[in-house]
C-alpha cells in the first residue's frame, strides 16, 4: 500500500442494510460519506442503535457494504480481491468494546498477540516472540504477562492486550469500537492517554467510536454525529462542541452532565420528545424531526442532505441550512 494520499480513508455513499423477516429492511448505515486524514482521530458518536458500530465494522469489512465505496490509501477496496483484502485486514485493525469477550480465554497473551503476525507471515518464531515483549511494554504491560491467560487480568489490562494485538501487525488505521466504555473512570483516562501516545509514536489514524461525548471531544480532531444510520453533523471537534448546528447534536451535548455543581445548578437540559424511532421503515423527512423542538413543516417531508454550512462544518438539517450565508 502506498501511503501517498493525504486521506487514509475516504468513505462515499456507504450503506449497510440488513434484510429482515417479512421483507423489511433495516438501514443500519444509510448513505454515509466522510474522509479521515492520515494521523487524524475521528470520533463517531450517537445513541445506541444509531449504527455507529455497524459503520465501523463495515469499514473494516467485517460486514460487506450494501452499496457505496471505501477508498483506503487512495485505492478503492474490492472485497472480491482476496490478496488485497488480506493486506487490508492487516493495515486496518479493530479494537473491541468488551475486553472480556474479545480475547480467547484459552489462549495466552503471547498467543493472542502473535496470532495476527503468524497469519500474515511476519517474522520468525523468535522475532515474533521478541515483538510480543516489545508490544507488551509499549502498551504498559511487561514481559512476565506474556504467558498468562486473559482471566488473570483486570479490565484495563485486557484492553491493553487488545491494543497490543491490534498493533502487532503494524496497522496504519484502527477502528476503536467503544474501547473504554467497559472500564472504570481512572482506567479510562489511562487507556485514552495510551491511545493518544501511540498515535504520536506510530503515526496511527483512528476511527474512535464512543458514546461518551466528553471523552470523544478530548481525544478527537474531528467528530461525526450519527443518528439512525446517517451522519447528521461533522466538523472539527472544537467547533462541533462550541457551535453545534444540528438540533440533535445540541440535544446530545445538553444531556451530558458537567462535573461542576455550579454550572449544573443553573443549566437547563433539553428534553427531546419520545425515544429514538425504530430504524426499520423510517418515515419520510428528517428522522430526528419527531423529537426535534425546532421542527417545521418541511422537516416532515424533505430529507435534509449533509451540506457545508460553515467552512468545514457540515450538517444535515433544513433549519441549519437556512442559516447558510449566501454564496
Amino acid at each position: 500500500m502506498m501511503p501517498n494520499s493525504e486521506n487514509i480513508l475516504e468513505v462515499s455513499h456507504l450503506s449497510k442494510y440488513f434484510e429482515l423477516k417479512g421483507g423489511l429492511t433495516l438501514k443500519a448505515v444509510d448513505d454515509v460519506s466522510f474522509e479521515i486524514a492520515r494521523g487524524q482521530i475521528m470520533g463517531l458518536v450517537g445513541e445506541s442503535g444509531c449504527g455507529k458500530t455497524t459503520l465501523g465494522r463495515t469499514i473494516k469489512h467485517l460486514y460487506l457494504p450494501t452499496s457505496g465505496s471505501i477508498k483506503f490509501n487512495g485505492v478503492q477496496i474490492d472485497p472480491q480481491d482476496k490478496a488485497y483484502m488480506k493486506g487490508f485486514a492487516r493495515h486496518a485493525q479493530m479494537i473491541f468494546q468488551d475486553p472480556y469477550s474479545s480475547l480467547d480465554p484459552r489462549m495466552t497473551v503471547a498467543e493472542i498477540i502473535s496470532e495476527g503476525m503468524e497469519i500474515h507471515n511476519m517474522g520468525t518464531v523468535l522475532e515474533r516472540r521478541n515483538r510480543v515483549i516489545e508490544l507488551l511494554e509499549l502498551v504498559g504491560l511487561s514481559q512476565e504477562h506474556a504467558n498468562r491467560f486473559p482471566s488473570e487480568f483486570s479490565g484495563g489490562q485486557r484492553q491493553r492486550v487488545g491494543i497490543a494485538r491490534a498493533l502487532a501487525v503494524n496497522p496504519e488505521f484502527i477502528v476503536c469500537d467503544e474501547p473504554i466504555s467497559a472500564l472504570d473512570v481512572s482506567i479510562q483516562a489511562q487507556i485514552v492517554n495510551l491511545f493518544k501516545e501511540l498515535r504520536q509514536k506510530l503515526n496511527l489514524t483512528y476511527l474512535f467510536i464512543a458514546h461518551d461525548l466528553s471523552m470523544v471531544k478530548y481525544i478527537s480532531d474531528k467528530v461525526a454525529v450519527m443518528y439512525l444510520g446517517k451522519i447528521v453533523e461533522i466538523s472539527n471537534s472544537r467547533e462541533i462542541y462550541k457551535n453545534p448546528l444540528h438540533p440533535y447534536t445540541e440535544f446530545l451535548l445538553s444531556s451530558i452532565p458537567i462535573p461542576n455543581p455550579r454550572i449544573e445548578a443553573s443549566r437547563k437540559h433539553i428534553v427531546a420528545g419520545a425515544e429514538m424511532p425504530s430504524p426499520i421503515n423510517l418515515p419520510k423527512g428528517c428522522s430526528f424531526a419527531p423529537r426535534c423542538k425546532y421542527a417545521f413543516k418541511a422537516c416532515l417531508t424533505d430529507t435534509p442532505r449533509l451540506v457545508e454550512i460553515e467552512s468545514g462544518h457540515f450538517a444535515a438539517c433544513s433549519l441549519a441550512a437556512t442559516k447558510k450565508p449566501p454564496e
Binding site: S154, V192, L213, P257, I258, P259, N260
Partner: protein, 349 residues
C-alpha cells in the same frame, strides 16, 4: 416509626465481609455516615470500593453466607434495625427503603407481564385489592413518563427499551412511597439522552415526594447534577465526605482530587494528558493496615502505610481521613495544595 430525627438513616462503624475459600474479603470496613431526610447523597468510588455492598447490606439484601455483617449499627428513622431478622426487615424493604439497580434487564422477570411485576409489591405491602393495585400501577407508570400505561401493563420486559425498563424499575421502587431510595448506578447502562431523562425523574420524585436518595455512581457529572452531599469511598472505607460544592472545589483527600482530575470535561484542554491513578485498588482479603489509598498516593508518608488516619473535620460537614491534615505533615500538605492549585475546576465560558 415514631421519633422524628433529622436523619432518615444513620450508619455507624458498619463492617461487612464475605467468607470465601480464599479468605475473608473485607468489603466494607467500619464506615459511618448519615442521610438527612429528603436529601440526595451521592456515593462515589471505583468498582470494588464497597459502595454497593454497603448500601445493600443496610437491609441485608446480600445472601448470607457468604456476606456477613460483622458489626455496626444501622438506625433507620430513629430505629435500630441492624439486629432485625428477615421477617422484621420485610416491613422495611420495599416499603420504607427501596432499591433500583444498574441493569434494568436482569432486575425484571422476563416471563412476567410488567403490570403484574408492579402490582406484586403493592399487593404484598398494602391492603389494596387487585383492581385498585392495578389502577395504582397505571398511575405510577404515568408518573415516570411511560406513554400508554394501560397497554404497557400487558407487555413483557423485552418489549421495553433500556430507558423504559429503568422507568418501570423506578415505578416499582416508589410504589409504596418509601422514605429512602437507593439508586445503584441507575443510568450506567443507558445512553446520555436517556440518562438525562431518568435523572430528571429521580430529581422530580425527590422534590415532589420528599424521598431521600442514595445515588451510587462513578460519573462526577451526575454527582454535580444531582447531589447535595458526596461520600467518597475507597478500599472499603469512606475517605472523604462533604457538601457537593466543598467536594468539587475544595476536596482535601488526594484520592478525591485524582478522581476529579481523571474525568474528561467538555471544557478540558485536550493537549494535556488526563490524570490517572497509578496502580490498582487494594486486595480486600489482606487490606492495608494504614490508609487504603497510601500505596497509590503521590503524597504518601511512612505513617500512611502503617496506620489508618483519624477523622478530621475541615469545615461544617466536611470530614476526611488523611494524614496530610496532621500538623506534622505540613510540608507534604503544602506540596499537595500547590500541585492542585491550578487543577481547580474553571467555569465554562
Amino acid at each position: 416509626m415514631s421519633t422524628m430525627t433529622n436523619n432518615i438513616l444513620e450508619i455507624k462503624d458498619f463492617t461487612v465481609s464475605f467468607d470465601t475459600y480464599a479468605g475473608e474479603v473485607q468489603a466494607v470496613r467500619s464506615v459511618s455516615f448519615e442521610v438527612a431526610r429528603s436529601e440526595i447523597i451521592a456515593i462515589v468510588g471505583e468498582s470494588g470500593s464497597g459502595k454497593s455492598v454497603m448500601t445493600q447490606s443496610i437491609v441485608k439484601l446480600l445472601p448470607s453466607p457468604p456476606a456477613r455483617i460483622k458489626r455496626g449499627s444501622v438506625i433507620y428513622d430513629g430505629e435500630e434495625i441492624s439486629s432485625y431478622n428477615f421477617n422484621q426487615l420485610r416491613s422495611i424493604k420495599g416499603r420504607e427503603i427501596a432499591y433500583i439497580f444498574q441493569d434494568p434487564m436482569t432486575s425484571l422477570n422476563p416471563t412476567i407481564k410488567i403490570g403484574n411485576q408492579i402490582t406484586e409489591g403493592i399487593l404484598a405491602h398494602s391492603k389494596l385489592d387487585r383492581k385498585k393495585a392495578s389502577e395504582k400501577a397505571v398511575e405510577l407508570l404515568r408518573n415516570v413518563g411511560i406513554p400508554n400505561p394501560q397497554r404497557r401493563m400487558e407487555q413483557y420486559p423485552h418489549e421495553f427499551s433500556g430507558g423504559m425498563r429503568q422507568r418501570v424499575m423506578i415505578a416499582i421502587a416508589i410504589a409504596m412511597d418509601p422514605k429512602l431510595l437507593v439508586a445503584d448506578e441507575p443510568t450506567t447502562a443507558l445512553d446520555v439522552t436517556t440518562q438525562s431523562q431518568i435523572l430528571g425523574i429521580l430529581k422530580d420524585i425527590n422534590q415532589k415526594l420528599g424521598m431521600a436518595i442514595i445515588l451510587i455512581t462513578h460519573d462526577m457529572g451526575i454527582v454535580a447534577n444531582m447531589a447535595q452531599r458526596v461520600v467518597v469511598m475507597y478500599g472499603g472505607k469512606i475517605v472523604e465526605t462533604g457538601g457537593v460544592m466543598e467536594i468539587f472545589e475544595n476536596a482535601q483527600h488526594p484520592y478525591t482530587r485524582s478522581l476529579l482530575a481523571s474525568v474528561p470535561r467538555l471544557d478540558a484542554d485536550s493537549t494535556r494528558p488526563l490524570e490517572y491513578i497509578l496502580g490498582s485498588p487494594p486486595d480486600m482479603i489482606e487490606p492495608p493496615a494504614g490508609c487504603p489509598f497510601a500505596p497509590r498516593c503521590r503524597f504518601s508518608m511512612k505513617i500512611c502505610v502503617q496506620r489508618m488516619p483519624e477523622m478530621s473535620e475541615t469545615g461544617p460537614g466536611h470530614r476526611l481521613y488523611c494524614h496530610l491534615l496532621d500538623e506534622r505533615a505540613s510540608a507534604h500538605r503544602q506540596r499537595f495544595i500547590e500541585e492542585y492549585s491550578d487543577a481547580r475546576l474553571e467555569v465554562l465560558e
